[in-house]
Amino acid sequence: MEKTIAARTGNEAMAEAMRQINPDVCAAYPITPATEIMQIFAGFVNDGKVKTNLITVESEHSAMSACVGSAASGARTMTATSSQGLAYMHEILFIAAGIRLPIVLAEVNRNISAPINIHCDHSDTMAERDSGWIQLFSENPQEAYDAMIMAPRIAEHKDVSLPIMVTTDGFIISHGMERIELYPDAEVQKFVGEYKAPYNVLDVDHPITVGSIVLQDYTFEFKKAQHEAMKNAKRVILEVGREFAKTFGKEYGLIEAYKCDDADYITISLGSTAGTTKTAVEELRAEGIKAGLIKIRSFRPFPAEEIAAILSKAKAVAVLDRSESMSNQAGPVATEVKNGLYDAGMKVPLASYIYGLGGREIFIEDIKDVYKELKNIADGKSKPEQAKYIGLKV
């Protein structure tokens, strides 16, 4: 396959995937730093490069509502947002998932107010972790592009039928230009395929009810079906990832284990920081410290067993959270990891860290310090701390 080497920011890469997918409907409202995705895509609509029906609305609440209506009528539907915009979609996100509509959302991770801040952290996406959406994180523009191409296949799979958000880190990835490999339109379209919705609210010959009231009688069963669909999503993400590898040459799983085979000390992170950590791991290994990294790609569904299996030989573990859950214990990622370890019957020493809120920079040295602290913990020189803040001004 003839791949095109190009220069793209995360936002440009996501818009490019959307152009190639050519969805039936997009409804969107602008917000920094996701605005550009729809701005570029609107250009494609204007230039006739896609046949998408672009609906401009007056808020994110309306954008997601329009997406729900569109997807319920069988149209392949996409949108993009960030931060307060995602928060404003909140109640409709649950509805999209509850009605089992495979909407694709390009989400750019950004701080939630207050204070008002346009920069990256994961507080917006993590606040929607219970909404029933599949959530994929991307390390760089290439991963965002690739995930957008896989997203409709995962969401629309008959065993899943759930909405999916593909995320990038605000500004760091959304506005950072990198080298990327783009695939031919025809290959992407062949991979994504045509969407045949199992139900269609506009099909008057086969009438259905969508979004109706269901009380004590069956809501419970609806939720159990959703629960099973999210379990299936684990399998389907892996299946689609393998098929993607066959077509485009790069395989994606639920997690990426980087140099973990013989690692004594493992950190766990998501998104762009996982990339920075890879460089830290290289440098530590050159110093003789056996460091490893688990990058979580799929936060929903959460790969608890897969992470526990990789941690089984580690001497100490650290989880880096780019959001707070104000539980006084740890951030959301650390909490999930600990759940998984308990179920696996493991009691590896685990320290949890909070970093990068509101775009606070994290450097290789910060991450190396975490590994060095893990060594101290493993050597019995210190005890693991929880929700320890990295990079605070003193």
């Binding site: 080497i5 220069a7 920069h119 760089n140 880190d169 990339g275």
Partner: protein
């Protein structure tokens, strides 16, 4: 930085093309087979406000996603920033390269900027731009100077890629394309001398 990666920081004022320069260089480096990151510093974006932009260029995939702390090369598009911004922050005096757009001499500029490295280049990029493009936008000749100083890319490859980019942007203004290319060449050759 590691030896196989070059980190570059651009200083300018909003509107002078620091971000565009970082992107043009990055795109040309990608076209020449390199791995690249190019990104501006996002703060309050106003015409005339101090801005910075960065490039990372390497032969291998770049995974680091933190800001550039110790640049190998610093380019100053606007010498009036010297008194208000710490231009040489993190720039090594032993092997860092400093390229300043100014009509002044190296010695005068070093004193003014309080930097004692040996690898300083002064070039009147605004004048070169004014003469060739008709506007004192110094970013493209500054890339010419950077390539002249570091040979990070073959100049011909950069000229070819930039020509393609400018042809798309300035379809109806061939004189802008020609002017930019001449300015890049002139700055490159001045530094190579």
């Amino acid at each position: 930085m590691s030896k196989d990666m070059m980190e570059i920081r651009w200083h300018g004022r909003g509107g002078q093309g620091a971000k565009t320069a970082a992107l043009l260089l990055g795109e040309a480096a990608i076209a020449a087979g390199k791995y690249v990151q190019a990104f501006p510093e996002y703060g309050p974006e106003r015409m005339g406000a101090p801005v910075a932009a960065y490039d990372r260029i390497a032969a291998k995939e770049i995974t680091i996603h933190s800001p550039v702390l110790k640049p190998d090369v610093v380019l100053v598009l606007d010498e009036t920033l010297i008194e208000s911004v710490d231009m040489v922050h993190g720039l090594s005096e032993s092997d860092g390269v400093l390229i300043v757009n100014t009509p002044d001499s190296k010695e005068e500029t070093k004193k003014r900027i309080k930097w004692n490295g040996s690898k300083i280049i002064t070039i009147d990029a605004s004048k070169i731009a004014q003469a060739n493009i008709g506007r004192p936008i110094p970013n493209t000749p500054m890339i010419g100077a950077l390539i002249g100083a570091t040979l990070i890319l073959p100049i011909e490859a950069f000229m070819e890629d930039t020509k393609k980019k400018l042809e798309k942007k300035f379809k109806s203004k061939p004189e802008v394309i020609e002017g930019n290319l001449k300015a890049i060449r002139q700055a490159y050759e001045e530094v190579r001398k």
